[in-house]
């Protein structure tokens, strides 16, 4: 006897969709492209923003003071990991510390290493800090109480390979890895943090031990990280710093964010623009296909009508088919986008030169939800015309005309 499953509205929808597989696959692909493009745009923008916020939080600074001439280089160190060595012409550090409204100031020295390190095929950015005043690594050390930064100890960014406890060699000087920072997706992932005094030791010994001598001018720093008093405006302090220490440029997290937004803007504009273009092209295309389907199904609609289906049932049937294709397409597009974006995230970030981390699961769900919603809305719009046709026709008469 028959082994048929329970028959329902959804079974009818599913059977109708199986009827013209190639046309339905084309529709699914259209929705997949729309949803995938929108999801990708949101994912990239969200990931870049999250990376920047994580990185900025990790740095813990309200203001970053760098030499005016090397502002771009310092931005590149932080954001994309392009290494550099530079210093203030004037120390400036003491002057900055004494500005009213500055709660804390901490100096940093940036040193570019040579090629051919064991840990990495390319050069690495050493950031030498003053453990007494630093508040970047200090936060991390507080969260990892078992770790201390002693002589020749280094804390590495997430992209530096080497187990904790192993050694790395820079300019002929041996350092011990005692900790690894969390991934930020920024240039800081390729940085190695050491103490300023160990950096000076390394520089002094480099003439004998290293391939090339490293010179760190005494008393000079590359950057000063500033934390302002609560309630004080970083913008006001920035202006004061630029006045009191000529030749400097100040950067704030918001400023860095807008730099990145500018770079990312071009890419996300392209993606959002593509989404809009694909959507605008798809709506009439999908509408035409839906109308074609409605015309093809005139007889079937008349049969259902004669069997007792109301016009609203038939409209619901057509919309259910459209929504099913839209949902399936959206989920396919989002799935493929996730596979490519997550799998190739390092390549994408490296090629686009943007900081990037995977957005939080909640944000990913939100992006997927909005892409799915867009597809469903387009599916609904595309089925409006067939719905209109059905509501303004007399199915039985249409069918009879077709027969005569």
């Amino acid at each position: 006897m028959s082994s048929a499953k329970n028959f329902s509205f959804f079974v009818l929808v599913a059977r109708n969709l199986q009827n013209r597989p190639y046309r339905n696959i084309a529709m699914v692909l259209s929705f997949a492209i729309i949803a995938g493009t929108l999801f990708s745009a949101q994912y990239l923008a969200g990931g870049a923003r999250q990376s920047l916020e994580t990185g900025m939080d990790m740095m813990g600074a309200d203001i970053l003071v760098v030499p005016d001439k090397y502002a771009a280089a310092s931005q590149a160190v932080i954001l994309t990991g392009e290494i550099s060595t530079f210093f203030f012409n004037d120390t400036g550090f003491e002057k900055i510390s004494q500005i009213p409204g500055v709660a804390k100031a901490s100096p940093e020295i940036y040193i570019a290493t040579l090629y051919g390190q064991a840990c990495c095929a390319g050069p690495v950015q050493i950031i030498a800090i003053d453990p007494g005043s630093d508040f970047t690594i200090a936060t991390w050390l507080k969260e990892n109480p078992g770790v201390t930064m002693g002589k020749d100890d280094i804390i590495v960014g997430s992209a530096i390979s080497g187990d904790i406890g192993s050694d790395l060699l820079f300019y002929g000087h041996t350092f011990h890895i005692v900790g690894r920072l969390a991934r930020t997706g920024m240039g800081l992932d390729m940085a190695v943090f050491t103490r300023i005094e160990d950096a000076y030791t390394m520089a002094n010994e480099s003439g004998v031990k290293a391939v090339r001598k490293l010179t760190i001018p005494p008393g000079m720093v590359s950057a000063v990280l500033v934390r302002v008093e609560p309630g004080t405006s970083p913008a006001g302090i920035s202006d004061e710093i630029k006045q009191r220490v000529p030749g400097t440029k100040t950067m704030t997290p918001n400023g860095l964010l807008s730099t990145i937004s500018g770079q990312l803007g071009a890419i996300t504009s392209l993606l959002y623009g593509s989404t809009i273009a694909v959507t605008l092209i798809s709506i009439p295309l999908l509408g035409s296909i839906s109308a074609m389907v409605a015309h093809e199904k005139k007889k079937e609609i008349a049969i259902l009508h004669a069997l007792g289906a109301t016009k609203s049932f038939i409209v619901r049937l057509m919309m259910a088919e459209s929504f099913s294709l839209a949902s399936l397409g959206a989920l396919t597009g989002i799935g493929i986008a996730v596979l490519i974006l997550v799998g190739f995230q390092d390549f994408i970030a490296f090629t686009l030169r943007i900081p990037f981390t995977i957005p939080s699961p909640l944000m990913i769900v939100a992006y997927a939800g909005s892409a799915l919603l867009l597809s469903i809305v387009i599916g609904g719009i595309a089925s409006l015309y067939p719905a209109y046709l059905i509501n303004h026709s007399e199915p039985y008469e249409t069918m009879r005309k077709g027969e005569s």
Binding site: C119, A121, A159, S161
Partner: protein, 140 residues
């Protein structure tokens, strides 16, 4: 013996996937030695880097997947399909395991083998496993 058109299509798909897996580390997303990077020993001998050995292993597995696809096209009985499916799942797992656990890739994050070859092989491995799973559990 009945020829199941759908199974033949999956056989062709497997063969295609196998070819793509072979080509991926050499041409599509080439490993470091294709860009001229080798490990140079103290005697001056050039040896492949870790990613190079993975590429060679993937070539072997890719060839086996092509053979599996051909077998499915040549003989599409239920038993053959399911047996091929089981081995396809295993081969898909190896496609993923070679570059991640069994052999590995270069450690440096910015090497092309890590940024492109590795994710490409992982995605291909997942697709192969899904195809294998379908062959095992395909409803009659």
């Amino acid at each position: 013996m009945s020829i199941d058109k759908t199974v033949n299509a999956y056989g062709a798909l497997l063969a295609l996937l196998g070819i793509i897996i072979i080509l991926t580390p050499w041409i599509i997303f080439p490993v470091c030695e294709m860009e001229g990077s080798y490990v140079i020993t103290s005697t001056g001998t050039k040896l492949p880097m870790t990613c190079g050995w993975t590429a060679r292993a993937e070539t072997g597995i890719g060839a086996l997947i092509v053979v599996a696809g051909g077998l499915l096209i040549a003989r599409s009985t239920r038993e053959t399909r399911q047996a091929v499916g089981v081995f396809t799942i295993a081969m898909g797992a190896l496609v993923i395991l070679f570059p991640t656990v069994l052999i590995g890739m270069c450690k440096v994050a910015t090497h092309p083998c890590r940024m492109t070859t590795l994710p490409a092989l992982e995605i291909l491995g997942v697709i192969v496993i899904i195809v294998g799973g379908y062959l095992v559990w395909k409803p009659e």
